[in-house]
């Protein structure tokens, strides 16, 4: 069926053997001679002033080689907290020792004196006037309110006298501040199209609800790790488990004031990233500082517990959403007000709130989103950052509307989906997309149209959209005298991208996939490459690879033209040889012969170069259907069927694409049903796999994946980014299925058994 011989085929990945034999080298497998073990010293309080840091006892421990604090950061840029900590686990110092256990012992011997401050960990509490202002003047913390809060704190500390009446009066004063003034705001984003008030007024049905989505951890299986080695010339080498070695290079350079030429970042095999390993530099900078101080290589490796307290997880949020529609099923208006928990720094994916618009024609849309400071670590990207949260709200509410107007949820969505040329609410117009095809494909595959549900069983559907990113990259291709093809580039492999690049180049140079090898350079040797996140790699590096292979292809034809004494127009590269199209008898020369010949030509060896940075991407849709059974006694939900379709444009390696769909869907399932970073009075209280449950093979059935291919005009062979879309609809898919099974809408994730039991009880069951 396919006109292609290598792309579009399932092939074993280029890194297959090293990954199944334990040979692949991950960050913690790097062990240069003389390496020391680094350990970060972390705050034991979620909000506190630091009164003193005493390292004297730790310094005396045999085997300790260095202890550093902010005073040891020559650039003065903040690496460690000094006067104040804003979350449990915030780094205050770092130790290097000859052994990992000694480093840990030393970290425990560092004595820190704290003055504990009031803690706020819930976004809705943090925006209230009564919340402590985490960044003082840096936020919208009104001056009067700050004064009142300071008075309350002062009175509360005075233990000798009872000030409870005064405190109550001051608290009452605080409550007078209007609700719409939000405090502890780290960032905001607003957009509007049409007139929502008018839209709601014209609607026959209006539904309004508040959706609560928890903070979850990307939970890549390899915790953050870096190994740094600073030599006496000042050159710094960093082995980093990262999605973006070039971003790490600039991050280290910026933080420590080291020129780019003095830093080489070597990306090690990455044990999962999902966005959490993009530009995050928690371990890299301390490793470099410790190595500079000791003159020895230093490894800083986080434990799983450290991952939970000081990783950069996905932000939780609260979304108040309102949707209006007509009796005949047209969505007229939607309005969202969202508060994203950005933790101690700004940066949650607040801009993604716009994704509540989904892929529907909504003439009137208004979105107001705020990032809110709380006493937690900062956040980072997690697979389609912000989209699963916003789409959970949007797609849950869509089902409520469908139910109220008595329309099938799939038909309701199909009816409202945008088509090519339609206006996108608050931004541009729709290119050619496969929204309807993808939803219809999953409905057909799941048996939606003749679905049956037994007692306590239910079906749920949802769709989620995402558009892959794009970024700069460079690839070199060379052809060797045995006819083999070598690729050189600098982008990190993210679960199969090196394989896709190899397939594309094999396709263009018409050689078997097995004749291609691929080598990744470090930041000293490879051309600049964008980070491997945002579903960019196959799109960006695929296009780059294509250009490089086409460049080599051109040189091959020129060499053949010289060698065969005929015009390039008479030549064709096919099955690893250049053929003279019109020759009778047939005349050809193999790639290997041409490569050998090239070595003695003026032009030299066959080297193709590809360089690419930007092209418009096309949106992709993921559509999913789940069938569940809920035990009303225990509240446990069992998945009976989970089907996921996705418009991938073109599947370069179908097995790898299925793997992305299956993996993303299960991460979405886990966010819906199991995962939640929990916070007590003093920070995260579930920093381990016993209390923070991620799914195992025992939790789920087989995920059925359905590949839909509506080509993207600018993608290599029509390919779109595939990594992120599959997580986007699953949260709502599961909530919609549970609603169908028990008749009660759960708007607060995760849908743990106790929540189901409570929901049933509150509804008189």
């Amino acid at each position: 069926m396919s006109e292609y011989t290598v792309v579009g085929q399932t092939v074993a990945r280029v890194d297959a053997v090293e990954k199944v034999t334990g040979a692949a080298q991950y960050g913690a497998d790097v062990h240069p001679p003389g390496m020391l073990y680094g350990k970060l010293v972390r705050s034991k309080h979620a909000h506190a002033n630091i009164l003193s840091i005493d390292t004297s006892a730790a310094e005396k421990l045999p085997g300790v080689r260095a202890i550093i604090t902010q005073a040891d950061v020559p650039s003065g840029r903040r690496v460690f907290a000094t006067d104040k900590v804003l979350y449990l686990g915030e780094p205050l110092a770092a130790v290097a020792a000859t052994d990992a256990d000694i480093a840990e012992e030393a970290a425990e011997l560092i004595h820190i004196e704290y003055e504990v401050l009031p803690v706020v960990q819930d976004v809705m509490a943090a925006i209230k006037p009564s919340a402590p202002g985490l960044h003082g003047d840096a936020t919208k913390d009104g001056p009067n309110r700050r004064d009142i809060n300071a008075q309350i704190r002062k009175l509360s500390r005075e233990k000798e006298a009872d000030h409870s009446d005064e405190i109550s009066a001051l608290e009452a004063e605080l409550e007078k501040y209007p609700d719409e003034v939000y405090y502890n705001i780290s960032a905001e984003s607003h957009s509007e199209a049409g007139d929502v008030e008018k839209g709601f007024a014209e609607s026959d049905v209006v539904v309004e609800d508040t959706y609560v989505i928890p903070r979850v951890h990307q939970t890549y299986m390899e915790p953050h790790v870096s190994v740094a080695s600073a030599d006496s010339s000042g050159k710094v080498t960093v082995w980093a488990s990262t999605q973006g070695p070039f971003a790490i290079r600039s991050g280290i350079a910026g933080t420590l004031g080291i020129p780019l030429t003095q830093i080489n970042v070597i990306g090690t095999t990455m044990g999962g990233g999902f966005g959490g390993r993009f530009g995050v530099i928690i371990t890299h900078v301390p490793a470099v500082l410790l190595s500079q101080k000791t003159g020895r290589p230093v490894r800083v490796q986080m434990t799983r517990e450290e991952e939970f307290v000081d990783g950069r997880p996905a932000p939780g949020c609260v979304i108040k959403l309102k949707t209006g529609a007509t009796h005949d099923g047209r969505i007229l208006a939607r309005q969202a007000l969202a508060f994203w928990d950005s933790g101690s720094v700004s940066g949650a994916s607040i801009g993604s709130t716009i994704r509540v618009r989904g892929v529907y024609k909504i003439p009137n849309l208004k979105v107001d989103a705020y990032g809110v400071h709380t006493n937690k670590s900062g956040t980072a990207a997690y697979r389609a950052p912000g989209a699963p949260q916003a789409i959970f709200a949007g797609e849950s509410q869509l089902d409520e509307i469908a139910e109220r107007i008595g329309m099938d949820p799939v038909k309701f969505r199909l009816m409202n989906m945008r088509e090519e040329g339609d206006a996108v609410p608050a931004g541009g117009s729709e290119p050619k997309v496969g929204y309807k095809e993808t939803l219809e494909a999953v409905a057909d595959a799941a048996g939606w149209w003749d679905r049956e549900a037994g007692e306590n069983q239910g079906w749920g559907v949802a769709v989620g959209d995402w558009t892959n990113g794009c970024g700069p990259g460079g690839v070199y291709v060379s052809v060797h005298e045995d006819g083999s093809v070598r690729i050189f580039h600098g982008s990190m492999d993210i679960t199969g991208t090196d394989t896709a690049i190899s397939q594309i180049i094999a396709e263009i140079l018409t050689v078997p996939y097995k004749s291609v090898t691929i080598t990744r350079g470090d930041t000293d040797s490879a051309p600049y490459s964008t980070g491997s996140g945002g579903s960019v790699v196959t799109f960006t590096m695929g296009n780059t690879a294509k250009l490089a292979a086409e460049d080599a292809h051109q040189r091959v034809l020129e060499l053949a033209s010289e060698r065969l004494n005929t015009n390039v127009d008479n030549l064709e590269l096919r099955a690893g040889a250049v053929h003279v199209i019109t020759a009778d008898p047939p005349k050809s020369i193999s790639l290997g012969e041409l490569a050998a010949y090239s070595l003695s030509t003026t032009g030299g060896p066959i080297v193709g170069k590809g360089s690419f940075a930007r092209q418009a991407s096309t949106p992709a849709l993921a559509a999913q259907i789940a069938k569940v059974e809920v035990d009303p006694g225990t509240g446990r939900t069992r998945v009976l069927k989970l089907v996921a379709s996705q418009d991938v444009g073109f599947a370069i390696n179908p097995m790898a694409v299925e793997g992305q769909i299956e993996g993303g869907t299960v991460q979405g399932y886990a966010w819906a049903m199991m995962e939640e970073m929990q916070y007590g009075e003093n920070g995260n209280i579930n920093p381990g796999f016993v209390d923070y449950r991620v799914p195992t093979s025992a939790d789920l059935p087989t995920v059925e994946s359905v590949i839909v291919e509506v080509p993207a005009p600018n993608g290599p062979y029509g390919a779109k980014g595939v990594g992120e879309p599959p997580i986007t609809p699953t949260l709502a898919t599961m909530a919609n299925a549970v609603k169908d099974a028990i008749g009660v809408r759960i708007t607060e994730l995760p849908i743990k058994p106790e929540k189901v039991v409570d929901a049933l009880k509150n509804n008189g069951h």
Partner: protein
Amino acid sequence: MAKHPVSLTVNGDEHDLLIEPRKTLLAVLRDTIGLTGTKEGCSTGDCGACTVIVEGKAVTSCMVLGVTAAGKEITTIEGLASDGALHPVQRAFIETGGYQCGFCTPGFIIAAKALLDENPARTEEEFRHALGGNICRCTGYTKILEAVMQAAEEIRTTA
């Protein structure tokens, strides 16, 4: 901390080592012997990335002290291929796409191998539960189960 003399056999090779009693078997394998194929994912026995076979049983090596493995026979991921040929489980993981980032893969392959040695005639549902001690964050488990079922089939038909 005082070190203790310990002899253990890893993938058929005998090692005479001096190790601190607080070092886990995982630390001994990775840091002392240099076999880094076995991974550290949680250090609390919950993720299965550090699974090795000790005397025929799959165990999480982060939960075993190195000194207690004295005299025992240990198989790690590096010891699975024989005579240059991959083990059927390793081949099946490649052919079905049963791995992505690969970090959990050594633990999964070792756990599956131990289960298959014990009884290759389990159903898929039984394997799903038997492998519940290993966490994979990339694959969603569908292709891992395919790999294990494929290897089980091969082992049953060639045994």
